[in-house]
């Protein structure tokens, strides 16, 4: 894979508040993910991790009051959500959305072809799509029934997360953000999901893995670990930082940077 920059995702001094309320959530986030690297973000509940992932992927309801974010050199924050996706950004949702009435397969094929169309590529034929999705679904232990059912409707917590990874595998993004993909997973499901993610690791692809727990990072080994608190990255280190959090919690680190 070719990439133009050694900065797959570059976030500079990002300030974000809620659109409807006078509440500042991100207070100057700086973060750069290089192609081929896995960065992890840990941090207490409410520190702004999900907000960061939503703002990057273009969800409404937030107002950027300062700073910038770019994907592989392209300014992200001016694009529509679908343009960001076509440019190669993917968010695995903390709470995947249920869409009654839309079949999972239809949903994915529409998404794959919409992105291809946006990039001026040829659309995938029904036959080719079926072949590819069957193979990828199999490795994630997603059966034919789950592909046919409406998107995420009646899926267990683990099934929803595996479905997120399947979407990621089908869309082959340049930059993957995983928001608490480990929450609600048992040990076996965690292994499946991690294997799915690791299979996508590639020298051209960046990862930002948001998690509370070291255990996911045992499977998906990060290159860099950030600690986020109160809307800022307060500490950055290597994988050992995750272990420190696992053993001592956030209190020590937060006290140290306060």
């Amino acid at each position: 894979m070719l990439w133009e920059h050694n900065k797959m995702l570059e976030i500079k001094d990002l300030h974000v508040k809620l659109e409807e309320e006078d509440k500042q959530i991100l207070k100057g986030v700086n973060l750069t993910v290089e192609p081929g690297k896995v960065h992890a973000i840990m941090g207490p509940n409410g520190s702004g991790k999900s907000t960061l992932s939503y703002v990057l992927s273009g969800k409404g309801g937030y107002e950027v009051t300062g700073g910038s974010a770019s994907l592989d050199g392209d300014e992200l924050l001016d694009m529509e959500a679908e343009e960001r996706a076509a440019a190669g950004l993917f968010l695995a949702f903390q709470y995947p959305v249920e869409i009654p009435g839309v079949g999972n397969m239809t949903f994915l094929r529409t998404a794959v072809n919409a992105q291809r169309k946006a990039r001026g590529e040829e659309e995938m034929s029904a036959g080719e799509f079926l072949k590819v999705i069957r193979a990828k679904a199999k490795t994630l232990k997603i059966d034919a029934d789950m592909l046919k059912r409406p998107v995420n409707v009646g899926f267990s917590g683990g099934e929803k997360k595996r479905n997120e990874i399947l979407q990621m595998a089908m869309l082959e993004p340049k930059m993957c953000i995983l928001d608490e993909t480990d929450s609600g997973l048992d040990v076996d499901a965690m292994k499946l999901v991690s294997e799915g993610v690791n299979a996508l690791r590639d020298e051209g692809r960046g990862f930002l893995v948001i998690t509370h727990y070291q255990r996911l990072l045992d499977h998906i080994k990060p290159d860099v670990v950030h600690i986020m608190a109160d809307g800022r990255i307060v500490k950055t280190g290597g994988p050992e930082l995750a272990l420190e959090v696992e053993n001592n919690g956030y209190a020590d680190i937060l006290a140290e940077v306060a």
Binding site: A85, L91, V97, G101, F107
Partner: protein, 433 residues
């Protein structure tokens, strides 16, 4: 229900004005009797008025005016619907039978005759059906426009179904004159164990008053799929009056796209045990002139029957949708399973949905549920789709079709359902216009 004598006088005066230039057709004794009876009932109750409770959400003015308001003929730009479905076609142009365009009335398992031919025959099975179910349907609520139909209709088809029919009967309603004021009255009698599918398509006329009386004998099955035409300015008031015997089934689906005014009334009586009645509708409306009304009245008068009403409306650019649906469960109709859902998806703030769901239950061992909702596109679903690269317009289409799915699922035949889906996709694609 109390209505002032002054109000009644206003309605009766309007009725006389409406009837002034119209002749009640004459024929054999049974036809004359049925028409005279309907005319008497009509004169007594008067035409509907905007102050009537049953017309609270839908202004009847343009339906009761002596002259039909003009409606431009719409130039179709789509492939014909159900082109690959084999059927027996019966064509009416502005309510007038077109023999050249119609197929021969020959199909195994049924017998078809025209009202125009039969009304002169002294002895005919239809004398026990014509106007009979319509009259029964007036019991709980007055339906003057149905009485108008019985009194004045000069054509329509009478179908006697004796066996399982291999292909649908397809009533095609063409609209070619912008001032046509058409009335058609059809009667269908299904014998025990008989089965048929009736299709109805097309805008029919500038103003169309259509009645369908269906008598479904024990274990018989009646299937009905209808698509009301796209002509933007057409008006229609339709009534379907059905009576169901034991273990019989009645399934009806209607797609409505465009038209300034449509009122579809459906009145069903479940009179035999273990019968099933499903009535469904999908309606997509565009523009502030669009007004669509589904008015349904289902009476459970037997044990262990099931009824299901599924009505979905997608409204944009100021369109109006109406639903009035009632389930009446009589005292001895134990083990009734009644379901009613009416939902609208409003694509903007200018559109509106007015609903009046009603349950009236006199039996104690029944399951009845009803729900009515009005909502916009789900923002979370929208963002989820867009975050996967699906542009907003395409995501809206997907969510609209998803919203309609429960109603579309009521169409049993896959080919017919596909045709309906294509029509809806066409409507969505015309978004920009």
């Amino acid at each position: 229900m109390a209505q002032s004598s002054k109000m009644l006088q206003v309605k009766q005066d309007a009725t006389e004005a409406f009837l002034a230039d119209r002749a009640v057709p004459t024929g054999a004794a049974w036809a004359n009797d049925a028409r005279a009876d309907a005319l008497g009932r009509l004169r007594e109750m008067g035409l509907p008025h905007g102050r009537d409770e049953y017309w609270k959400f839908t202004k009847p003015d343009s339906l009761v005016h002596a002259d039909a308001p003009k409606a431009a003929v719409f130039q179709y730009d789509e492939a014909p619907l159900w082109a690959d479905v084999e059927s027996l076609k019966i064509v009416f142009v502005d309510g007038v039978f077109d023999a050249d365009a119609s197929d021969d009335f020959a199909l195994e398992g049924l017998e078809i005759e025209r009202l125009a031919d039969v009304a002169g025959k002294d002895i005919h099975w239809v004398k026990d059906l014509y106007g009979v179910l319509e009259t029964r349907g007036q019991d709980a609520v007055q339906r003057p426009l149905a009485a108008v139909n019985t009194a004045l209709a000069t054509d329509g088809v009478f179908i006697h179904v004796t066996g399982k029919v291999s292909k649908p009967v397809n009533l095609v309603y063409l609209h070619k004159s912008d001032t046509s004021d058409a009335i058609l009255h059809h009667c269908i009698k299904l014998d025990e164990g008989a089965e048929m599918t009736l299709l109805e398509t097309g805008p029919a006329a500038a103003r169309f008053n259509k009645l369908l009386e269906v008598d479904v004998a024990d274990t018989a099955k009646f299937n009905h799929v209808r698509v009301q035409g796209r002509d933007h300015e057409r008006r229609a008031v339709t009534g379907c009056f059905a009576r169901l015997g034991s273990e019989s089934a009645f399934k009806s689906f209607t797609l409505t796209m465009n038209g300034v005014l449509t009122r579809n009334e459906c009145v069903i009586e479940l009179t035999g045990d273990d019968a099933i009645a499903h009535v469904a509708g999908a309606c997509v409306g565009d523009g502030k002139d669009f007004h669509h009304d589904d008015t349904v009245f289902i009476t459970h008068d037997a044990v262990n029957c099931e009824s299901r009403q599924v009505f979905k409306k997608v409204l944009r650019n100021g369109a109006t949708g109406v639903f009035q649906g009632k389930i009446l469960v009589k005292k001895d109709a134990q083990k009734t399973d009644g379901y009613q859902i009416s939902q609208s998806l409003l694509l903007d703030d200018d559109s509106q949905f007015l609903a009046k769901p009603e349950l009236e239950i006199y039996a104690d061992d029944v399951i009845c549920s009803h729900g009515s909702t009005t909502g916009a596109i789900d923002e979370d679903a929208m963002f989820y789709l867009r975050s996967r690269g699906v542009p907003e317009a395409e995501a809206t289409d997907l969510l609209v079709l998803a919203f309609l799915a429960e109603a579309l699922e009521e169409i049993e035949d896959e080919t017919l359902a596909e045709g309906i889906l294509e029509r809806l996709e066409g409507w969505l694609a015309r978004r920009a216009s």
